[in-house]
């Protein structure tokens, strides 16, 4: 029952979903940055900020990308097992910080990179365990 074979087409879909996933977070962050003139200190100022962000084209670009990723991801999962797809798709855990450094000029210390790698390893183990669980119940 396991669909494990990663064809070139699926690999391209996975890479596309990685890049789009990163784009979602980039767009949302850009949307928040564009309205940085509002300082959020309490509930009313938070609502003013949110209203401004929801009229930002970046936010809607992000939401549109969410829909695109959902469609691509559904296609991927209809062709391949989750435990195979997630580790390849987790590339965005590296891609988002890289994009943050290059395009948003954020700084990442060595300790934080280590934390990111630990999270990535954890995500891969969790997704591999879904295969193990199904194999056990067989």
């Amino acid at each position: 029952m396991f669909k494990k074979k990663v064809t070139l087409k699926i690999l391209l879909l996975l890479i596309t979903s990685d890049i789009l996933e990163t784009a979602i977070h980039f767009f949302f962050k850009k949307g928040a940055l564009a309205e940085a003139q509002f300082s959020v200190v309490d509930m009313p100022s938070a609502l003013v900020f949110l209203k401004a962000v929801f009229s930002s084209p970046f936010l809607w670009a992000g939401l549109l990308t969410v829909v695109a990723v959902f469609v691509i991801w559904s296609t991927i999962l209809s062709k391949i097992d989750l435990s195979v797809a997630v580790p390849i798709a987790s590339f965005s855990y590296i891609l988002v910080p890289v994009v943050s450094v290059i395009f948003l000029h954020e700084q990442i210390s060595a300790l934080r990179w280590m934390g990111i790698l630990l999270i990535l390893a954890g995500v891969i183990l969790v997704s591999l365990s879904s295969k193990e669980r199904i194999a056990q119940s067989k």
Binding site: V53, S100, G115, I119, G122, L125, V126, S137
Partner: protein, 127 residues
Amino acid sequence: MREGLLVTLFMISLTSLCDTINQLFLKSAIDSLNFGGKFNFVRIFKFIFQLLIKPRIWLSFVFSVISLCIWLLVLSRADLNFAFSADSMHYIFIALASRFILKERFTSLRWLGTGLIVTGIVFVSLS
């Protein structure tokens, strides 16, 4: 700075919690349809229609909107690389919810993975 970090982490855990509730409603709505077997376009449309008339789907939608709003507030005060990494704490909530609410069985590999994610988040937050 230290207090700011705690507030940010608290807000990130709120989004993660909303995401988890959203996933639970989604899972419960989909499970209640007993949808299995072959997929084709007619069945997929029927599936989506049946899903859309479930109140739980709309609850799930409400929680994802709340989650998005809090996420945008997080992004207004935190670096993207930090927020994105710390947001993986939804893995912890999902693990707890799957184990104790959905009563799913867990393997040691899954606990190990969840533990690594927790350690990673601590590292990311300390730096």
